[in-house]
């Protein structure tokens, strides 16, 4: 049977090993810490892209608001770090010492109530998981229970991303406005700006990513994974087989939201700031393209897709800034028209059979029963 006793087949184990070797050995050994930190930043987007594989590729739910959850994670972490670096001693030149500098600039004299709990690291870490899940649950429950999906869901989530961005930029006294929350220095007294800290955070980020991939693989190989595919294919049939379809959609949407928030929190830690430019419509839809380039049905593809697109973005926008938007635009079109299954689709048709043979063809689980019938048309 295709469903082995263990949820990681040989192909998946090989995939994990290659990715781990790339993240933990090849990249750190071959590039300097500045570039490595950049890779670390890209990998935080990969959390979002992996979530989109589950949500969009498997479940058929396209969210154009994943930046919201990335932002929630990022802002939670940024609020904690900001409060830590805004001690009364460090901010004694302000008219109100002890509050973040941007609040002082906006004539706010007291820490707003919703900032207060972020003095605690434990609360912050819990919030990074609970807040995105909570918001995703509200959105998901409202929409999926009423059978809203497809295009409508995409538009609504996009609108939510727009609303949150406008809110953050408009309320600069409470949020840091368009500049975001900047000048983050230490985590529990540990300076996160040093090279050694950046190495540690990079490896922590990589380890989290591998952990997330294993968790996702578990979900995909469980009956829930097959149910998601079934829902994408014939939602009514699943419903009339006795399942409450909305609950599964809510689950996968919340799951993807939490993954995005983890990525956001790691982004803040590695890059040292968080701003609304990672929350809105444009970043949210760009994250979809990372997933699409990797192949919307492969969690490993999502990681490579993210790396590839961001590498291209950095390279092109450094040398030919004009060309980049043309390139990105063309990429959106090409990934839809020419190769809808992305990198992983190319891998699966051209490389996977050979790898299977080399592995001793034991893992039938690599057989993808998941090709999107629509995309294949």
């Amino acid at each position: 049977m295709t469903n082995g006793k263990f949820f990681l087949g040989r192909q998946e184990l090989l995939g994990l090993a290659i990715l781990a070797a790339l993240i933990f050995i090849v990249l750190p050994a071959s590039i300097d810490i500045f570039r490595l930190n950049l890779i670390g930043k890209y990998l935080t987007y990969a959390f979002v892209a992996i979530g989109l594989v589950l949500c969009w590729g498997m479940g058929g739910i396209l969210s154009l608001g994943q930046g919201v959850f990335f932002g929630i994670g990022g802002y939670c972490m940024a609020m904690f770090l900001k409060l830590e670096s805004s001690t009364p001693e460090a901010t004694k030149i302000q008219s109100t010492p002890g509050i973040p500098d941007f609040m002082d600039w906006n004539q706010i004299t007291e820490l707003p109530w919703f900032w207060v709990p972020f003095n605690s690291l434990a609360f912050t870490l819990i919030a990074i998981f609970v807040l995105p899940a909570f918001f995703a649950f509200i959105i998901g429950a409202a929409m999926f229970k009423r059978r809203v999906g497809g295009v409508y869901f995409a538009i609504i989530t996009q609108a939510i991303a727009a609303i949150l961005t406008i809110l953050i930029i408009g309320q600069q006294g409470y949020t840091g406005g368009v500049n975001g929350i900047t000048d983050l220095r230490t985590l529990l007294g540990w300076d996160i700006r040093t090279d050694s800290a950046k190495y540690v955070l990079y490896f922590l980020n990589g380890a989290l990513l591998i952990g997330v991939l294993i968790a996702c693989q578990f979900v995909l190989k469980s009956k829930l994974g097959r149910l998601l595919v079934a829902v994408r294919d014939k939602e009514d049939r699943v419903r009339f087989s006795g399942y409450d379809v909305a609950n599964f959609k809510i689950f996968v949407f919340c799951f993807a939201a939490v993954l995005s928030a983890i990525g956001g929190a790691m982004f803040t830690l590695q890059v040292g700031f968080m701003s609304p430019s990672f929350v809105g419509i444009v970043p949210s839809i760009e994250m979809v393209i990372y997933c699409a380039v990797g192949g919307r049905l492969s969690i490993f593809g999502a990681v490579y897709g993210t790396l590839l697109v961001n590498w291209a973005k950095t390279t092109f926008s450094e040398t030919f800034p004009e060309l980049w938007l043309f390139g990105l635009g063309a990429l959106f079109i090409a990934v839809v028209l020419v190769f809808p299954n992305g990198l992983s689709g190319l891998y699966r048709t051209n490389v996977a059979p050979a790898v299977d043979r080399w592995l001793g063809r034991s893992s039938t689980s690599a057989k993808p029963p998941l090709e999107d019938p629509q995309a294949a048309e």
Binding site: V148, Y152, A154, A159, L167, Q171, L328
Partner: protein
């Protein structure tokens, strides 16, 4: 927040803001009409709709410069010519895009969304490369400048009135085209049953292309109108796309009346609140209300119960 004003002042504020809202309403309607045709009738998501609108705006800008330089005598009527050219330019580009892109994706609405987003990026960058990143404005002929003073406080700008009249004409035209003419009937026939429509002799490919081009052309006219009340930049279209999609969905995608009603509600709410709150909070509250209502009533304001 009302305490600081007298009743007459409040009345005037509402009237002025109401009028400002009517101009916003006009732009919303013009943009949403095109979208309602493409999305409501064809089921296609056109994320590049804002960029088609901006194409119309740039065409108007070029016309304005051309007439100023070469045909100053006809400058007072250049706007009508510009509008026709904007319609043709946006419509022609729309027809091309339908042929090159959209027709391959009719069964994959979510993919259309991504592809047209890519198109919008390309168009934005093209505008930036051709016209520069700075915003440009058009020179209005004299007869569109100035305003009519109704009372001491209330003044109605003429260009605003003109845009509204234009909106009315186009809305009525679209209504007849989509719901009273043969073309509209064919469009709906194709959307509802492509195979059958083809079987009874409708050239479905041609109908698709015409409809898409029409929607884009109307966006071009919206861009023309847009130049009268705002300046044109490469990314100006993107600012409106979310609002417009919400309007179309909020109104019930296939209902023209719904589109107009929801444009009205959203623009009025936004501009009235704008006076009392900051602009961003007004927008947040308006959009949040719309999203909230859509969560409770996803089929929009105007919709039919259908037999599955």
């Amino acid at each position: 927040m009302f305490a600081d004003y007298t009743w007459t002042e409040l009345g005037s504020i509402f009237a002025m803001q109401g009028f400002a809202g009517l101009i916003l309403f006009s732009v919303f309607v013009l943009m949403a009409l095109g979208l309602a045709i493409i999305f409501g009738q064809m089921g296609v998501i056109n994320m590049a709709h804002g960029e088609f609108m901006i194409l119309g705006a740039y065409v108007t800008y070029l016309c304005s410069n051309f007439f100023q330089a070469f045909l100053p005598g006809l400058f007072s009527i250049y706007f009508f010519i510009a509008m026709a050219l904007a319609f043709v330019a946006a419509g022609a580009l729309g027809a091309f895009v339908e042929w090159a892109l959209i027709r391959h994706l009719y069964k994959r609405p979510l993919d259309t969304l991504l592809a047209t987003w890519g198109l919008s990026l390309i168009m934005q960058q093209a505008y930036r490369s051709i016209f520069g990143a700075r915003e440009v404005g058009v020179t209005l002929p004299d007869w569109l400048l100035g305003s009519i003073a109704l009372t001491d406080i209330i003044e109605i700008p003429i260009n605003g009135l003109f845009v509204m009249a234009l909106t009315l004409v186009i809305a009525v035209g679209v209504y007849f085209l989509m719901f009273k003419s043969r073309m509209g009937m064919q469009t709906r026939a194709v959307v509802q049953n492509r195979v059958m429509a083809g079987a009874v002799g409708i050239n479905t490919e041609w109908v698709d292309r015409k409809t898409y081009a029409l929607g884009c052309g109307i966006a071009g006219i919206a861009g023309s109108a847009f130049t009268m009340i705002g300046s044109t930049g490469p990314t100006a279209g993107q600012l409106y796309i979310v609002d417009t999609f919400l309007i179309v969905v909020f109104g019930g995608a296939a209902s023209l009346l719904g589109t107009i009603a929801s444009s009205f509600a959203i623009s009025q709410a936004q501009s009235t609140m704008e006076f009392f709150l900051s602009g961003s909070m007004a927008k947040v509250l308006t959009l949040l209300t719309v999203v909230g209502i859509l969560m409770l009533r996803p089929e929009g304001l105007f919709s039919h119960k259908i037999r599955r």
